[in-house]
C-alpha cells in the first residue's frame, strides 16, 4: 500500500506485514479472514491488535506463525522478518532459495530495472506508492526512494526473471536482509517458529500437555533452540521458571501442569516461549482466561521480560484496558481489515475511526451516570466478498450514503507529524469536504493493491 513515508523510527522494522491476505475456502464461500492488512513491528516495541471476536486478530497471528490450518491459506502479501540470525540460519540451510542482494547489486542497475518495468507497464504501486510509472527511474534511485532491496522485496526482480520466484530469503550485508515467511516451506517454518517468533496462546489451562511435566516441556524447547542437554538444560529450565517468578522453581520443574494454578501455568507457558530465545513474541489473548489480579501480574511480567531482552511483542486482545497498559502502537481490526493504526496515546486521546470510538465508548465505567453499558449494535459481518463498501457501515452511527458504495482506504489522520496515525474511513481526510474525501478514497481504492 501507500505507506506514509514519515516513519517514526529510521531503523527498519523487525517484522513487516505487507498486504497480508488469508482466506478460508469452504464449499459455500470464501471467507477473507485477513484482508490485505499491513503493519510493522519494531524491536522492543509492543504492538497491540484489538478488535471484536471474529475480526481476524488470531488469524493474523497464525498467518505470521504459519499455523493456519486447512481450509485456510495465505493467498497474498508478505510477512518480512528481518532477524539477522534467522536470515543467516535459513540462508545456510536453503541456499537455493536465497537471494544475495550484493550479487544482484553487482550485476544490475536499479534504474535500468525500473526502466524495464516501466516499459512493460508493470504495476509499480507496490514500490513506494502510486504515480511511480511516470517518474524518471534514475531520479528515483538517486533520491533514494527506490532501492534494489525494494525491487527484490516487491517481487519485481522475480517478474524480470532475475531472481527465482521460490526464493524467499533475502540476504543483505548492509541491513541484514529478511525472510519472507509466507514463502517458507513447513520445514523452514519450523526454524523460524520458536527461535525467531514464539507464540503464547489464550488458554494456559490447555496450552501445556497434561501428561508431561512442565520442566520436560520447557526443556524440549531449550534442547531444540539453545542446544543444551541433560543437566544443563534442567538448570536452564529452573532458571527460566525463576525468571517468570514461579516460586520454588527447582521443585516445580518436576511437577505436572495440573499441579499448577492458572496464573502459574501461563507463566510456565511464557517460560517455554522464552526458552526458544525469540526475537518476537506473539501473545494471543494471554490474559483473557485469567482473573484481573493475575492478569496484571502477567502483563507486568511481559513488560519486564521485554525490557530485559529487547523483545518485540505483538499483543492480541479485545480488552482496551490491557492495550492501554501494555501497547506502544495499536492496530484496530474490524472484519479482517485494519481500520485504524496509531500510537497508543492517539488511539485513546483522539480516536478517529467510528469503530475505535465505539470500542472506547463500550469500556465499562466510562459513563458512570448511565444505567446501561454502551455497546456497538449488531455483530461483526463475515467478510466473504471483496469489499466494495465499508464493512463497518451497517453498524456505524456516522454512516452516510457513500459508505455503501466506496471502500475506504487507510489515510493519514495524524495530528502530529510523528504520529503516523491512519484510519480507513470516508470521513477522512478531515480537511477535505465530504465529496472530495470520498473521491480520494475511491481513487486510491481503484489503485489496485491498495489497502
Amino acid at each position: 500500500m501507500a505507506t506514509p513515508v514519515s516513519q517514526t523510527t529510521t531503523e527498519s522494522p523487525l517484522l513487516s506485514v505487507k498486504n497480508l491476505q488469508t482466506s478460508f475456502f469452504t464449499d459455500k464461500e470464501t471467507i477473507r479472514a485477513v484482508d490485505r492488512i499491513s503493519f510493522d513491528i519494531h524491536r522492543g516495541e509492543t504492538v497491540g491488535i484489538v478488535g471484536e471476536s471474529g475480526s481476524g486478530k488470531s488469524v493474523t497471528a497464525r498467518s505470521i506463525m504459519g499455523l493456519v490450518d486447512s481450509p485456510g491459506r495465505i493467498v497474498g502479501g508478505s510477512v518480512q522478518f528481518s532477524d539477522v540470525d534467522t536470515v543467516e540460519r535459513l540462508a545456510e540451510e536453503y541456499p537455493g532459495q536465497t537471494i544475495d542482494l550484493a550479487d544482484i547489486r553487482a550485476e544490475h542497475d536499479p534504474a535500468a530495472l525500473i526502466e524495464q518495468l516501466q516499459s512493460r507497464e508493470a504495476d509499480l504501486s507496490r514500490l513506494n506508492g502510486p504515480g511511480m510509472a511516470d517518474r524518471d527511474p534514475v531520479e528515483l534511485v538517486r533520491e533514494g526512494s527506490v532501492t534494489m532491496g525494494d525491487l527484490v522485496a516487491g517481487g519485481y526482480t522475480d517478474q524480470l526473471g532475475i531472481t527465482d520466484e521460490d526464493a524467499y530469503i533475502v540476504r543483505d550485508a548492509d541491513d541484514g536482509g529478511f525472510v519472507d515467511i509466507t514463502g517458507a516451506s513447513e520445514a523452514a517454518y519450523r526454524k523460524i517458529r520458536g527461535r525467531g517468533i514464539a507464540m503464547i496462546f489464550q488458554d494456559p489451562l490447555t496450552s501445556l500437555n497434561p501428561v508431561y511435566t512442565v520442566g520436560n516441556q520447557i526443556k524440549e524447547a531449550i534442547r531444540l533452540h539453545q542446544g543444551l542437554q541433560g543437566d544443563e538444560a534442567h538448570q536452564e529450565a529452573i532458571r527460566l521458571l525463576e525468571a517468570v517468578s514461579i516460586p520454588d522453581a527447582h521443585r516445580r520443574v518436576d511437577e505436572y501442569p495440573h499441579e499448577f494454578s492458572g496464573g502459574m501455568r501461563q507463566r510456565a507457558v511464557i517460560a517455554m516461549a522464552l526458552a526458544c530465545k525469540p526475537q518476537l513474541l506473539i501473545c494471543d489473548e494471554p490474559t483473557t482466561a485469567l482473573d484481573v489480579t493475575i492478569q496484571a501480574q502477567i502483563l507486568e511480567l511481559l513488560m519486564e521480560i521485554q525490557e530485559e531482552r529487547d523483545l518485540a511483542i505483538m499483543f492480541i486482545t479485545h480488552d482496551m484496558g490491557v492495550i492501554a497498559e501494555i501497547a506502544d502502537q495499536v492496530n484496530v481490526m474490524y472484519s479482517g481489515e485494519l481500520v485504524e493504526k496509531a500510537p497508543v496515546e492517539s488511539v485513546f486521546g483522539a480516536p478517529k475511526h467510528p469503530y475505535t470510538q465505539g470500542l472506547l465508548e463500550s469500556i465499562p465505567g466510562r459513563h458512570p451516570d448511565e444505567d446501561r453499558l454502551r455497546t456497538i449494535e449488531g455483530d461483526v459481518p463475515t467478510p466473504n466478498v471483496k469489499p466494495t463498501y465499508c464493512r463497518f457501515a451497517p453498524r456505524c452511527p456516522k454512516a452516510f450514503d457513500a459508505c455503501d458504495v466506496v471502500h475506504p482506504v487507510n489515510v493519514d489522520v495524524s495530528e502530529d507529524v510523528d504520529d503516523n496515525h491512519t484510519a480507513a474511513c470516508l470521513l477522512y481526510p478531515e480537511d477535505l469536504p465530504e465529496s472530495d474525501a470520498v473521491e480520494h478514497h475511491r481513487k486510491r481504492g481503484d489503485g489496485g493493491d491498495d489497502q
Binding site: E186, R193, G194, T206, L208, P210
Partner: protein
Amino acid sequence: MSAVFLILRAGPLDPVAAILGQKQDPVMAHQIRLQLGIIRPDGSPVPLWEQYLEFMHGLITLNFGQSWVISRGTPVMDLIVARAPVTIWLGFWSVMIALLIGIPLGFYAGLNPNTSSDYLASFGGIVWRAMPNFWLAIILSSVLVSSQFFTESLFGVALSWREWLWDTGVIGGPPLDNLADPEQLFAAIKWIMPAAIVLGSSSMGNEMRIGRTAVLETINSNYVETARAKGLSGRIIVWKHVFRNALIPLVPIISGEAFLLVGGSVLVELVFGINGLGKLTFDAINSADLTMAGGILFIFAVFLQVMNIIQDFLYTLIDPRIGYEQS
C-alpha cells in the same frame, strides 16, 4: 456369583437326565442324585440354601468340586487347568491382532483425516466391527478348508492353507506343549490365527474407530498447537505429544475387550472346534454340569476383575493426573 448359583440351580437344567440320557431308570436316578448331593439318603431334597452355602464355601476355598456330567468325578479345577492354555493362546493373539492392527490403523487414519486412506480404514473398521463372530468364523473356516480351490481359480496356483509354510489344521487347537521350538511356535501361531482374527475382529474395528477419534481430538488440542509454535518437528509432536494422550481413551476400550473375549471365545471355539475353556463352558451348560459351569464362570469373573484392576493401573502409568497417593 450368587446370581450365577441361582440361575444354574433354580433353572430348568437337569443334570440327572443329562447323565442318564435315554434310559430313565428311577433307581439309577436316585443313586446319581444322592451322589451329586442334591438329595438326602432318605429321598428328601437338600434345600437350596444348604446347596448355596456349600457352593459359596467351595468358591472361597477354591474347591469347585467335581464335574457332574462331562467327565464325572474329575475335579473341576483339573479340567479348567487342562483346557485353559489353548484359550489363553487364542485370547492373547486376538488381543495382539486387535492392538497391532486396530490401533496403528486408527492412528494413521486420525493423522490423515478425510483422505481416501482414512475413508478406506474407517469403512473397513466399521465393516469389521459389524461382522458377527459366528458368521465370520464359519465363512473363514470354510474358505480356508477349500483354500486350494480359491487360490487356483484366482491366482492359478493351488495353495492349501493346511500346507502353507507350516503343516497345521484349519480347525482344532494347536498343541502347545513345546513352544520353545521355533518351528512349533510358528505352527501354533499360524494354527490359531484364523480363530484369533475372528475373535479380534470386532475389537480391532472398535479400537480403530476410537483411536482415530482420539488422535483427531488430541491433534486439534491447544498443547499440540503450542508444541508446533515451539518449532518442534511433526514427528516429535506425533510421537511424543499426540500418542500418549490418544492412548488414554483407548485404555478402557482395550480392557473392555476382555469381556468380548470371554463371550466370543465360547462361539469361536465352538465353530473352530478348539477344545478350550469357551467350548468347555458351552458343554457344561448344555449338559447341565452345574459344578463345572459354576467353576468356569467364577474363573471368568475373577479374570474380569483382574482386568479392571490392571486397567486402573495402566491409567496411572499413562496419565499423571490419576494417582493413588494423596497429594
